[in-house]
């Protein structure tokens, strides 16, 4: 009894300390920002040009009532989601194929490797030329962002499947088609998820790039447009919104991973 109480007493303050330190950290950041802006500090950076955090908060609160804010969030999220879904259904089979067959690897991988180091933004001119609509070219960029990480992790995972699991399945009467569903995919799932969480981040990068450069809708477009219209508060609000969306997407991927992979 005494010992348990002792542990509880130890724990509570520690947790409390942790929370207060975190809150303090944000408070310090915001106060530093406020101070830099209000003192109009211009060296080493032109902090004086930034909007005041209190003004931003007030604008954000009123902006939360506007439907255009939610429309922007929806449009960008939908683009990311379609890009990821497309990447997932193409990268996983291709990864499985080139991970398993040397001929496929020799035939496909060099050309894929040619494109992989190219930053997403550099694909934009070609995407605009290739696709009939701006919408499809933006989705193409988000697709590319998710495609390569998922492809690479699937390919590596396919090469690492323990041979004895495949042999065991075959000894239990599992044919080649079922082998993919019952052995290969579940065995690769943890690594596919690793690729997916990297891919989701890259996808958000892709969608914001596309929207800023060529879009007419979406949170990236609004953020950039606000800068041109000298509405710097909205730019900063857009920036933080993008950050929160990225954070939420990773949380969704992590949640999905926890739900699907129960055996780890």
């Amino acid at each position: 009894m005494d010992r348990r109480e002792g542990i509880l007493n130890m724990r509570r303050p520690r947790k409390l300390t942790s929370y207060s330190v975190r809150t303090l950290s944000i408070a310090v950041f915001l106060s530093a920002w406020m101070w830099l802006v209000r003192m109009n500090i211009t060296w080493p950076l032109q902090f004086g040009n930034l909007p005041d955090p209190v003004d931003i908060l007030a604008t954000w609160l009123s902006y939360l009532k506007e439907s255009s804010y939610y429309k922007d969030i929806f449009v960008s999220s939908a683009r990311v989601l379609s890009g990821i879904v497309l990447a997932f259904i193409t990268a996983v089979p291709i990864g499985l194929w080139i991970g398993n067959r040397k001929l496929a690897r020799d035939a496909l991988f060099p050309s894929l490797e040619l494109f992989r180091p190219i930053p997403l933004i550099a694909f934009l001119p070609v995407a605009m030329l290739l696709f009939p609509t701006i919408e499809s070219s933006i989705i193409f960029i988000t697709f590319l962002g998710a495609f390569f990480p998922i492809l690479i992790s699937t390919k590596d995972a396919a090469g690492r499947i323990p041979a004895n699991l495949v042999q065991a399945a075959r000894c239990l009467g599992c044919g080649p088609a079922r082998l993919i569903w019952r052995v290969y995919l579940p065995a690769m799932l943890p690594e596919i998820f690793t690729g997916l969480s990297v891919g989701v981040g890259a996808s958000w990068m892709g969608v914001i790039t596309g929207e800023m450069m060529s879009g007419q809708t979406g949170i990236g477009y609004t953020t950039w447009q606000a800068y041109h219209l000298l509405d710097y508060r909205l730019s900063v609000i857009g920036m933080f919104t993008i950050g929160m969306l990225g954070f939420a997407s990773s949380a969704v991927v992590r949640g999905l991973e926890r739900m699907t992979i129960k055996w780890k």
Binding site: P162, N164, L165, Q167, A168, A169, R170, C171, L172, G173, C174, G175, R178, R182, V183, P186, A187, L189, I261, K262, W263, K264
Partner: protein, 277 residues
């Protein structure tokens, strides 16, 4: 199930470009309901021979026939139990056992009752919902045995099934294995490097020697079951087999253990392996 192996050889290309002769001219006939142990030191090709019978690997020459038909690939008729169990980590115990049944056209109800039967035979009731990672080595081995048995194979192939378990658990599972074999109408072929295990379990022991893998002698074990490890007959078989295995390694017998260099220590000598059981 009747297995007929005739003049089988198996050669692997090694990484340095040589050819490694794993098996050389193996001929062996295994009868209905027989319990066979393939016994020998590592490198004698006993596991390779087992995989040839399973159809997981194919021979370089010669023929492996089961019930008169040449083996061309794995089949649920020939259950295989892997050394490291090879359980599917993403399936719980029940689903692992049911994996092979899912490949058949059986309805859910029949499958369920078969799985339940083998769960209770192997004492896995409490573990049914657990994942392999949560199980001990002995439990994993039981799941692997249940998974193979529930397909009702007529031949069960076991690749060093108890090698990773501690001595007490090993003896317990050997007893269980005898019980299962007596209960089911099946031929068992078990690979082991443990002399006592082979004498305890087998109707016939196939003693194999390495470099290249060959059958040294086929020994029928005439002892009545249940066998007692301390009985005179048991001990006679044991010393006879140890002599057989040591005859091939004269330097291993002569070498005083203290003269071993550090690198030789890591790889135990034959007589060291066999005298510690």
């Amino acid at each position: 199930m009747h297995v007929e192996i005739q003049h089988v050889t198996k050669a692997y290309p090694s990484s340095s470009g040589h050819v490694i002769q794993a098996l050389e001219d193996i001929s062996l006939s295994i009868g209905e309901n027989e319990f066979i142990c393939l016994l020998g030191p590592s490198g004698c090709g006993k596991s390779t021979l087992l995989k040839l019978i399973a159809g997981i690997e194919s021979s370089s020459s010669g023929s492996v026939k089961v019930e008169g038909m040449p083996v061309t690939g794995p089949s649920p008729e020939r259950g295989f139990i892997f050394q490291e169990y090879a359980l599917f980590p993403w399936l719980n115990v029940r689903d692992n056992i049911s994996f092979g049944l899912d490949m058949t056209g059986l309805n859910t109800k029949t499958k369920r009752s078969i799985v339940n039967e083998y769960i209770s035979i192997l004492g896995l009731e409490k573990a049914a919902k657990l994942y392999p990672k949560q199980l001990s080595g002995g439990m994993r081995q039981r799941v692997a045995i249940a998974r193979a048995l529930c397909l009702n194979p007529r031949l069960l192939l076991l690749d060093e099934p108890f090698a990773a378990l501690d001595a007490i658990l090993r003896q317990k599972l050997q007893e269980e294995m005898t019980r299962i074999w007596l209960r089911e109408n099946k031929s068992f072929i078990l690979v082991t490097h443990d002399v006592e295990e082979a004498i305890y379990l087998a109707d016939r022991i196939i003693v194999m020697t390495p470099g290249p893998g060959r059958i040294k002698e086929i020994l029928p074990i005439s002892l009545a079951r249940p066998r007692v490890r301390t009985e005179a007959g048991f001990i006679q078989f044991r010393s006879r087999i140890l002599r057989l295995l040591q005859a091939d390694e004269p330097e291993a017998v002569d070498m005083p253990p203290l003269a071993c260099t550090a690198s030789e220590r890591r790889m135990p000598l034959l007589h060291e392996i066999y005298s510690c059981h």
